[in-house]
Structures are given as C-alpha cells and as structure tokens.
Amino acid sequence: MGNWNNQTALEAIEAAFAGKIISTEETYGLLNIEVSPADAYEVIAWLKNHESLKMQFLTDLCAVHYPDKEGKELGVIYHLHSLQNNFRIRVKAFMPKEQAEIASLIPLFKGANWMERETFDFYGIHFTGHPDLRRILNMDDMDYHPLLKEYALEDETRTDKQDKFFGR
C-alpha cells in the first residue's frame, strides 16, 4: 500500500509530464487532470504502469459536450481507480468537434471497448485504433449522435422550462 493522495499524485504526474498537463483541479476530493487528446493515452498508460500508483482499473469512460467552448467542444472523461492504493483520479481531454479523435484505450484496458463504442454512438468521437467502432445502443442506420447538445429533447419552441422563468 502506497500512501498516495491528491497532492503526491499530482506532483508525480507533473514531474513526469512537465508542460503536458493543461490544468488541474480538485472537485469533491477527486483530482482532475486535463491533458490534450494527443497525450491522453500516454498519461493513462503511465498511470496504469506506474510501479506504486497502479491505476489499473478503468472505472468509467464517457464524454461531455460544451458547445460554447470553442475548440474544446467535446471532452472525453476517464475515471481511473487504483485498487491497491484506493485512489481515484479523473482525466479529461477536450477536443474540437470537427476533429473529434482520440486514441483508443483498448490496448490498456479491454473493458474500454464497449465504453468507447457507447461514447462514439452518443457523441461521434472517433477512437483511433478501435477494432470495432460501431454504434452499440442506438440503431445502426441512425445518422446523428443524439447526446450532442444541438439535439433538443423536446420541442425547441417551448419556453416554459427556460431557466429565466425560474429565477436564474
């Protein structure tokens, strides 16, 4: 058992990837690290293979869409967990919507397969190196990625649920 906490882990990561960490943040006790999509695979591989940190468990992989953040519209969010140290970390990689590409994690975690297919299905993010990047939950001939923010769930002319009517 190592005694890793957010601070020691952050120091180790910053030492190993000087200049590649775009931003860091601590939300609700969880360390967040933002890297560029080009570096994401390398950073996660390092975290997984680190001799004492051992982030060997991919808890979750999903995406978020921020249409207003220019050049960083789409983000892939990884949650990693070190079972030996009971330490969790969140890695984010943001990319422009026109060039939504990031390396697949399948060589590191076999379980990333369906999680990446799901993310592709709903956000259209291409995971390069994925052997079987097809839709998984939606039907195959669907021609859009439904969780993107431009697809409104209800009639867009409907105004009764706008935030401004609720004191915000």
């Binding site: 609700y28 769930l153 935030d163 609720f166 915000r168």
Partner: protein, 406 residues
C-alpha cells in the same frame, strides 16, 4: 472435419476434433433462457461455441438524454429502471450523488434506514439471480421458494414507499416517511423466518452433486482478465479480487457495520453462485446490526430547499407552500460542479457522474452501469464451452437488460 483450438484466458480449452460443419445459431433477442432482451449470434460446431457476437440496445430508453431535461428529484424514477431487480440501491445512489453535490449532511438515522433498505434490495437481487441459476440447471423448486421470500421483501418496500418493483424510494435528503410499526414488524418476522428457508435453498443446491457438475468450471474468468474488463461486484469477487465499494469507499455509514467480503477463487459460475449466497448472509448481518442500533432522530435532513414539506404545512404555512412550489417546479438551487459517486449495486459498482452548471437540470449525467461494462467479456468467457454452459454463464453474471441498455 475441423480442428478446434480455442484459447480461453490463456488456457487451451479444447483440442478435440468434432465432425461436422460450423452452424450459425441465433440466441435471442427474445428467448426464455436469456432473461432479458439481448441477442447473441453464435457460431457453433455441434454444441461447442466457437464465437459469439452480442447485440444490445433493444430496450435503450435514452436515460442520459432524458436526465438532461429533468429536475433532480424527477431523475429518481429513471434510476429505478436501470437494475430493476434492486431499484432502491439505484434510487439511493442517486440521492447520495445529489447530496454530495449540494453538500447535504444527513442524520445518522437516515443513513441506517438506507442501509437496511439497500441490503434488503441486495438480498432480493441475489435471490433472483441464484434462484435463476438453479432454474437454468433444471432445478425449479428453489426458485419458487426464493421468489416467495423476494415477495416478502417487496411487501416491505411497499410499507416504506408504497411501490414494489420500481420503488422511487426515499427523497433527496431522506425518506418520505419514517419506518412504520408495520414495516418493522414485517422486517423482524422476516429476519426470524428467512434464514431457515434460505438454508433449505442452500442445501438444495450448493453441495448438490448434479448442480455442481453443471456449474463448476462453467464460464470461468481469471482475476487479471476480470480487472482488464472492469468487472465489479460479485463477479469480480468470485474471481478472487476483494473489491467492494462498501468497504473501499464507505458511504451511508457502512463503516459502522461489521461484515465480511466473500471472495471466490476460480471465477466460474459456481463461485459466482457461492459468493452471492454468502453475501446474502452478510447482508442479513448488516441488517441486524442496523436495526439493533437504529439511531433515534429525524428521518430526513433539514433541507427545505430539497425536501418536500409535510402536506399539512403546505396548506397552512407560507414558507412551506413556497418551498413546495419551488421543488415541484424544479427550482431548487444547486451548485455548479461535477461529482462522481458510486455505490455497491447488487451486480457491481453503480456510479453516477454528474455535471451540474447550476441549472434546474443536470448538464450531463452518466451512469456507470456495471453490467454494461462486464457483459462485453461474455463472448470471451463462453468461447469453447458448451451451449448449455453459455446459458448458465449468462444467468450467473446477473446481466439485467434495463441496466445494460439504460
């Protein structure tokens, strides 16, 4: 003539030569042996499986998209429909996620009450799963007995929240009402009567020669492979990894209770069955401890912005009416931020990744659904085994279609 050389987890499974040609077999989408709507297109040589190609998504209901348009309290019924065999765990996992985001502190009584309900749900879920493994081996008797016990657990839910299957139990901040004397009476009676019936079920199957011949070494997985595939819950523990969210990241006062985490060694169908059997016993231990030490106090936190006021107050007091209106209209103030919270669901780590921008609805909500993640290992686990073992492997993995497809 075809030479079968199939590798499973690094081990050579079969080298025998089978006479015949490769056939394509469509298992599902609706088949009585699949316990849900999912399809597997299998290539089989005789009865031996060469490959399987699962198709999922038949009951996809776009929960993550729906959640982006619903106020926080209206998302609880969505979570019911993930793993519908143990809805209360999903409900409470969601409540705890919002409470973590909003920084709500709960009275100890609420946490203990939640533990009781969540452990009942775990028992109900494990009973269904293990009873169904029995059914798939041809032993229907245990199933009928254990379904009676599950029914009694549903009666207890009914006393607490009025619903049985999709419970929508509790609220953000606590419970809608305190445990009634009728509930406590039912729970105490059940705690007395259940162990004897459960032992009977245990005797029926666990050391039964016929049952063991069918399930031992069926659909095994190594601990390394289970971790590669992000297995969680009883399936991971059956493979020999002692990861339990209740112990690693205690929530809802689980640190107050003494219980063991059973682990298996082979990760096969038998180990998964036995691990669940033992977890039922441990859950009973937890319920006894929680019930004996149930603290006094309120059954909800004092958070008027989230917790609906009592109905009689709504009719008589101005503040209560305002809060009632604001909650119903989804106008509760919520901080911007992002939070990941996970609970030990009945079939694995159920996680909620919630991004809030301070609006009335979540900006993004992602469910980490344990069986969606581990079901992808299914083709690898059944490769080289007999078709009937594949059915057993599926039922012992506890794949719930509602959770798989979200």
């Amino acid at each position: 003539m075809s030479e079968l050389m199939i590798r499973n987890g690094g081990q050579l499974v079969s080298t025998e030569t089978i006479d015949g040609e490769i056939a394509t077999l469509n298992l599902g989408p609706t088949h009585p042996a699949t316990h849900g709507i999912f399809q597997n297109v299998m290539k089989v040589d005789g009865e031996r499986i060469i490959s399987a190609e699962p198709t999922i998504g038949y009951i996809h209901r776009a929960f993550e998209k729906l959640a982006e348009r619903r106020p926080y309290n209206q998302i609880t019924p969505i979570t019911d429909r993930l793993n519908y065999c143990s809805s209360p765990i999903n409900n409470m996992g969601w409540h705890m996620t919002v409470e973590k985001l909003a920084g709500i502190e709960l009275p100890k009584r609420v946490e203990y009450m939640r533990v009781i309900i969540m452990e009942l749900a775990r028992i109900a879920d494990h009973l269904v799963c293990n009873a169904v493994i029995g059914v798939d081996t041809g032993a229907l008797t245990g199933f009928t007995y254990m379904f009676q016990e599950r029914e009694k657990i549903y009666d207890m839910y009914e006393e607490v929240c009025g619903a049985r299957l999709t419970t929508n139990i509790g609220r953000i901040g606590g419970f809608e009402r305190d445990f009634s004397p009728a509930f406590l009476q039912k729970l105490r009676t059940w705690l007395k009567e259940f162990p004897a019936k459960f032992d009977e079920f245990d005797r029926l199957l666990t050391r039964n020669r016929i049952f063991m011949d069918r399930v031992v070494k069926a659909g095994p997985i190594t601990p390394e492979m289970a971790l590669e595939y992000s297995f969680t819950g009883p399936n991971l523990r059956a493979a020999g990894v002692d990861y339990d969210v209740r112990v690693m990241n205690p929530y809802s006062s689980y640190q107050d209770f003494e219980f063991d985490v059973p682990i298996g060694s082979d990760g096969d169908t038998y180990d998964r069955f036995v691990v669940r059997q033992e977890e039922i016993r441990q859950s009973l231990r937890i319920i006894h401890q929680a019930l004996d030490n149930l603290p006094s106090g309120s059954f909800h936190a004092d958070v008027p912005a989230f917790y609906l006021p009592a109905k009689e107050d709504v009719y008589t007091s101005m503040e209560a009416l305002i809060y009632h209106f604001k909650i119903v209209m989804g106008e509760t103030p919520i901080p911007a931020g992002e939070v990941y919270h996970s609970v030990e669901g009945a079939n694995g780590e159920l996680g909620f990744y919630l991004v809030s921008d301070g609006g009335r609805t979540p900006y993004r909500l992602h469910f980490r659904r344990p069986c969606f993640i581990y079901y992808q290992a299914y083709p690898e686990m059944i490769k080289g085994s007999m078709l009937s073992d594949a059915i057993l492997t599926m039922s012992s993995m506890n794949v719930i279609a509602g959770e798989l497809d979200a």
